[in-house]
């Protein structure tokens, strides 16, 4: 509990580091902050060409389906990938000044979260252009779904960032893992098309219910399934607790190991 109070004390540090990330990342580049949008836009164009022109999925309004899973996925994978190296990237600060170390993964996750919120402009634009449906009752669930995903992403980045300090290969292992993980989550295809023998993998994947809920809200325009909600919330809380505990244990020797 004392730990949480201390993190609240340091909220200004978190806020100003997030601001620094947002403003500092694109300073000096000509298109500046626009890159936040251009980057996912390009990825979406590429995946659209691949999956709706070359490998047809047969889903109606496939673009809405894909984008509503992909933007939340980018938030998740961005947090985990950037989170993996965040303690090592700030080695100088960690070795020379005191602050609650959890601030660093929290900053990464929050920065990626804000990027996702901004990217939702895209989702709305695509839904309008493709003449999809809006269901206000379903969209009401969105903040809750986002909160669950935030907890899951933070839990995993706490866990991996702390372990990476002691075991550097983990950063590379994580990037390979995320490469496979995107295809083990129903983002480019509906879960119905997955062969029976592969289903357990998808069921145990904590991102499956999260992405399924985004699909329900944005693509199917219905209220998310209660089973998905419970499963996602449960695994998010479990990961957050596990991540915090491991982080606290490993954090004691960060300054010496870096």
């Amino acid at each position: 509990m004392g730990r949480i109070r201390e993190l609240v004390e340091y909220r200004e540090m978190t806020a100003s580091l997030v601001r620094r990330e947002l403003r500092g990342k694109y300073k000096g580049s000509i298109l500046g902050f626009l890159w936040t949008f251009i980057n996912p836009l390009c990825q979406i164009v590429i995946y659209t060409v691949v999956f709706s022109m070359i490998m047809r999925s047969g889903l109606e309004n496939f673009n809405i389906y894909m984008i509503s899973g992909m933007i939340p996925w980018f938030f998740f994978s961005g947090s985990v990938l950037q989170g993996a190296g965040c303690i090592r990237a700030h080695a100088n600060m960690v070795k020379k000044i005191y602050f609650p170390r959890e601030v660093l993964p929290i900053v990464v996750t929050t920065f990626q979260f804000i990027n996702m919120l901004l990217s939702f402009i895209f989702i709305i634009a695509v839904v309008i252009v493709e003449k999809g449906q809006f269901n206000p009752a379903a969209w009401g669930y969105l903040p809750l779904v986002m909160l669950i995903e935030y907890m899951l992403a933070l839990g995993l980045s706490l866990l991996i960032s702390a372990c990476t300090v002691y075991f550097r290969d983990l950063e590379h292992i994580t990037s390979v893992m995320m490469m496979a993980w995107i295809y083990l989550t129903p983002i480019f295809y509906p879960i119905k098309t997955i062969p029976e023998y592969l289903l357990p993998v998808f069921c145990w994947n904590p991102m499956t219910p999260v992405i399924e809920m985004y699909h329900s809200i944005i693509y199917y325009a219905v209220v998310p399934d209660l089973a998905d909600l419970v499963q996602a919330a449960f695994s998010a809380i479990a990961f957050l607790i596990l991540g915090s505990l491991v982080f606290r244990k490993l954090e004691e020797n960060f300054a010496e190991e870096l």
Binding site: G24, K96, Y98, R168
Partner: protein
């Protein structure tokens, strides 16, 4: 009132002979991970009062900086306890979190926030920090355009205006020109008079004479001598002289 109490603290570091960090190395050379534990502090106890300035002296590698890192909670002791009452600011790492592309003013906010200040507290100190740094209108230029002197002045101004209850200073009073150094020293004295505890590591005896109430001489991880500034400093300098001869 006691602000710092250090009780029978021991600290040892792992010293790797040849650390295998990569998976490949660990698998190929599993025996390479051998390390030995080197005791840096072997049982140190002392206490500091409010408004007191204590200097730490001793040879290079005797553990002075380790003590400061333990006090600032960057490191944790292997044995013993450290109790610190109040907000700690350190003039150990200056300019933590500075972003080169952002202006001096923006960096003040980031840097001060890393010391644990809230936005309101930073706003209240902003003018004092800018005035102290003598950067004038340059404060709104990006930090990357600063000279190293300007950079250090800005970083120092933030750290010293945090209004901490405990200030840790590690050998960095070589900042800026003579006038700025004098100003820093006057500021340190003013801070001390206002009730802040200062723990300072320095090799410059003049600086220590000027500000410290008492010195602690660390030798080989133990306290060799503690007490009056001049007497302790003279004993230390004598010993150093004998070693040279």
């Amino acid at each position: 009132m006691t602000t710092i109490s250090v009780c029978a603290v021991k600290k040892n570091f792992k010293v790797y002979f040849d650390k295998g960090n990569m998976l490949k190395e660990r698998i190929l050379f599993p025996n390479r991970n051998h390390y030995e534990r080197r005791e840096v502090l072997r049982g140190i106890s002392f206490a500091c009062q409010r408004g007191e300035a204590v200097g730490l002296i001793g040879k290079n590698g005797c553990g002075k900086s380790t003590i400061l890192k333990l006090l600032s909670r960057i490191l944790r002791p292997n044995e013993g306890t450290i109790t610190v009452n109040g907000r700690v600011s350190s003039l150990i790492e200056l300019g933590a979190g500075f972003h080169m592309d952002m202006t001096g003013r923006e960096n003040i906010y980031i840097n001060a926030a890393i010391f644990g200040l809230k936005r309101k507290e930073i706003n209240a100190r902003l003018d004092a920090i800018i005035r102290f740094s003598e950067l004038g209108e340059y404060i709104d230029n990006p930090v990357r355009t600063y000279s190293s002197g300007m950079y250090m002045r800005l970083a120092f101004s933030v750290a010293i205006n945090v209004d901490a209850d405990i200030l840790l200073v590690d050998e960095i009073l070589a900042v800026g020109d003579v006038n700025f150094r004098k100003k820093c020293f006057d500021k340190l004295k003013e801070i001390k008079a206002s009730g802040t505890t200062i723990v300072i590591v320095s090799h410059s005896m003049e600086q220590l004479y000027e500000i410290c109430d008492r010195l602690i001489w660390i030798d080989n991880g133990l306290i060799r001598m503690e007490g009056d500034t001049r007497r302790t400093a003279e004993a230390y300098l004598n010993e150093m002289k004998n070693e040279r001869d």
